[in-house]
Symmetry: C2
Subunit: 187 residues, 2 copies
Amino acid sequence: MPSSRPLRADARRNREALLTAAREAFLTGDADAHVEEIARRAGVAVGTLYRHFETREALVEEVYRQEVAELCAAPARLLAQYAPDEAVHRFLLLLVEHSAVGKGMSEALESIMATDSPVFDDARAEMAHALDELLAAGVAAGAIRDGVSGRVLLRALGGICGMRAKGWEDDAVRITTILYDGLRSGR
Amino acid sequence: MPSSRPLRADARRNREALLTAAREAFLTGDADAHVEEIARRAGVAVGTLYRHFETREALVEEVYRQEVAELCAAPARLLAQYAPDEAVHRFLLLLVEHSAVGKGMSEALESIMATDSPVFDDARAEMAHALDELLAAGVAAGAIRDGVSGRVLLRALGGICGMRAKGWEDDAVRITTILYDGLRSGR
DNA sequence: ACACAAACGGAGCCGGACTCACCTTATGGG
DNA sequence: CCCATAAGGTGAGTCCGGCTCCGTTTGTGT
C-alpha cells in the first residue's frame, strides 16, 4: 500500500519537515513538545501535522521507528567484524551509547522496549530478531549460555535505556557488564 | 512539621478514603483513572481531593510511597532468615512477585525506579540503602562481587518491573537469574 | 491555461486537570 | 449545651493541550 499515489511534492517536503522538527524537539530535551510547537518548527499548521500523522503519538512513533531501524542494522555488521561473544558485548554497549543521544530519544527506546503498544510490535520483533542472531552465534561458538531469547534480553536492555539520572552512563555500563557476565556464566 | 495541628476527624477519614480509592483504582488496572473518578470512589468532590493533595501526581506518589515502604522492610527480614546470597536472590524474586499485584502498581514501581522526579528521591534512596545492606552482607560472606551499588542494581530491577507483556513473569524470573549469576560470577 | 483533487490553515471543540468563592460542620471555650 | 469560628467540603468554571472541520490555496496532468 505504499503507492496509493506518489504523494505531492510539497506534501512530501512538509512530512519530512515535521519528522525532522519532531526529532530535533526530542533530541533537545523536551519529549513532550506540544503539537503546535512541532508544527511551528516545521513551518506548517497543526492541521497539516494531522494530515500526515493520525495522532501526536503516531508522529512520535515514526521518529522512533527510524531510530530503531538504525540500531537493528548493527548486529549483522558486528557479527561480520567480531567473534560472536565480543559482538554481543559490543552491541550491548552500542545500545547504551546510542540511547545517550538525548533524554527524549531514550524515552522513545524505553517505550518501544517496555510497552505492549501494538504499534511497536514490529520494532520489537525486529530488534529481538537481531538479538537472536547475535545470541545464536554466541551459543554456536560455545561462548554464551543457551536458552536466553532475544526478547528476554531486550527486556533487560529496556531497563538500562530507561535510565536518565546524572551519571547514568556509568551505571548502564556496569549493568551491561553484569548481564554479559551472566550470559557467559551458565554456558 | 507533621503537627501544624492534628487534622480534623472527617478530614483524616477523607484523606484515607482518597488514598484507598486511588490504590484500588491502580490495582484494578487503570493507572490513569481520572481525578473525578477517584474522588467519586472516595465519596468526595474534586475540591476535597485537591485540599489533601497538591496535584493528581502527588496523590499517586503517596500511594507509591506506601507500597515502597512495604518493600523496603523486606531486606532486613530476609537477612535475618537466610544466608546473604540467598537473601539477595530471594529479594530479587520477591520484587518481581510484588510488582505482579497489578499493572498500575507495576507502573508505579517503574516510575519510582526509572525517573528523576525529586519526589521519588527518598523512596529510591531508601530502596537503594536496603539493597546496599543486602549486597554488603553478600560481599562480606564472599558470595557476591564487590563494586556494585544498590543504586545500580535498582536500575536494573526497574527494567524488570516495567515488563508487562503476557508471559512477562517467566521473562522476569529469567533476567533475575542472569543478574544474580552475574553478581556472583565476578566475586 | 484550466480543472480539480490534493494539501494547507487555523478558529474552535472537547476532555481532563485544576481553582475559587461560597457553603457546611467539627470543635473547644463559655 | 450552645455558639463562634476556622477548618473543611463543594462543584461550576477556567485553562490548556490534543484534535477536528471546512473554507481556501496550490501542485499537477491535460
